[in-house]
Chain length 370, copies 2
Amino acid sequence: MATTRPYNFSAGPAAMPEAVLQRAAEEMLDWHGSGMGVMEMSHRGKEFGVIAAQAEADFRTLLAVPANFHILFIQGGGLGENAIVPLNLSRGTTADFVVTGSWSVKSHKEAQRYCTANIVASNTANGHTRLPEPSTWRMSSDTSYVHLCTNETINGVEFQELPDLAALGCEAPLVIDFSSHVASRSVDWSRVGLAFGGAQKNLGPAGLTIVVVRDDLLDRALKICPSAFNYKTVADNQSMYNTPPTWGIYVAGLTFQWLMHQTEGDLSGVAAMEQRNAAKARLLYDFIDNSAFYDNKVDGSCRSRMNIPFFLRDESRNEVFLTGAREAGLLQLKGHKSVGGMRASIYNAMPLAGVQALVGYMREFERKHA
Amino acid sequence: MATTRPYNFSAGPAAMPEAVLQRAAEEMLDWHGSGMGVMEMSHRGKEFGVIAAQAEADFRTLLAVPANFHILFIQGGGLGENAIVPLNLSRGTTADFVVTGSWSVKSHKEAQRYCTANIVASNTANGHTRLPEPSTWRMSSDTSYVHLCTNETINGVEFQELPDLAALGCEAPLVIDFSSHVASRSVDWSRVGLAFGGAQKNLGPAGLTIVVVRDDLLDRALKICPSAFNYKTVADNQSMYNTPPTWGIYVAGLTFQWLMHQTEGDLSGVAAMEQRNAAKARLLYDFIDNSAFYDNKVDGSCRSRMNIPFFLRDESRNEVFLTGAREAGLLQLKGHKSVGGMRASIYNAMPLAGVQALVGYMREFERKHA
């Protein structure tokens, strides 16, 4: 099976580890002798309690989440969080946004429903191909938080290091949307107040959102914040106040177990994935950079390891390229409509062999058509 | 496999048809030769487009949803909808609530964040065991909608007929929370403005919410309504504005197909389920009513066909009853903590044989302990 499955480069929902899918299929009718499938379990029963607690503990271990952060499993998605974060953190005052691509544009726009949302830095002028240097950001003196999308899925730009807001003279908490690179690399939690991510890129199925929130930020929600999305209510009830997306938590938990068993040399878990992801991205970027046939427009300092948009210099060949790719077992390579061209999303579940197969196809296509 | 699986009486997430689980397991790694599992598909791709369109069409057929109603697949759950409905419909003015049990109490409380939420009828005084007669409801002259929970999962009361608000002199739309009996019986859409339900009782896994909303109610959301939950935005984008819970839509779609193939005599689909559900409920209620050992406190006029709370008259035997039930392959019969005793949830996926097995166990337990 493993050798015949196509490589799926979807930006999300995205490819999942085959071992995770196989386990989920095997346990579908009976989880661990309980007589129930996971979808059939009460979220308040002891069986699902075990599944949820293990998933939370494993996520905490994988990403070294400190004890003063809560891990919440909720519904709503990244787009939902664009409202839920200001409902919980803005106090109706001011929030600062660093605009680096399509997702942070959306986050800024949505926050305007709940507070004064300022743009303190933007790379719109260069078409979201470089990241604004943190030393140039001019945070508002009264901002309730600073929002950053640390990997822009559509534009393919990624922060290689989190900004140190305190060193920049800003005491407000940093909020990161890490939807599309969560668990692909480590997180410096000393610089973060809150992190959120939809699961459907690197962790599991669509419909599960993970929020990691520091203790002191729990209790400042606006009165108009829905109970189901009030971080304190969710935390006080171990994510069981509203029925959580139980299947998503289960599949994410299987993915966490898979991640913990990944190794590269002496490394394991997220450290191993980080090394593997860097190698995968390097292989594809190096090939593109050494070709006169393909092009990537993102500055070398901030290229995403997860989402790699690229172009055929002669775009009249796009359809032929995509058709041939599908025939070669390389799926979902079409770029986002707002950027065009191609995009290869190479999340944790994409093996090096998948990127090698893509580069092989691209080389052969170039040879035939150059 | 079918004969050895226990019967699962969970109130939700709840038992699912075995055929649905088997299909989901079989297609886990490769949906219809696409080379992708359903969880791995872009929600905007053609494969998932087929799945979502079929699910919507089948739900429309099953419940005879008229063309002037939109069917939305979103996140948030029933508890999320307690906020999302007033955010979309209340215009910040007044909304009327009929309180009939735990769920409508919660809905009324949450709506107070967004509007003046009036209680126009309540059965709190009789412990949620009878339903207030619609002719006694005194709707507010300026109400934006009237909210009703048509089946109270915890208390086991169900409206056997929807109220005709217009005949009562109220022009406002009726909003029904049909989470725990959707697709168990037909719906008279001529009396409904909006219906919502979490999927995790009768339709699929937790994390999918289905909203059925009449055309003219789409465009009155408050500015503070999150985009992800704005019905008009969701409808305009065929439920793809925010990434929808794709797995939940797929599994619900399999369930819809299963429902369409159910028959009872000349009946099929929801009509067949309605007859089967009535027979299942009658069997259990009749047994309880004819026993001096067990008791159900709900008035005969409004007993739920889906959720049947019952008590041992000698409650000191509760633990022995539950332990024996588990050993007999009858799972999750413990009542909700706010009501106590036992509860048998017998949704569409529970066959008559499961209720027969429960009654058989109860009869034998009574014989031993009476």
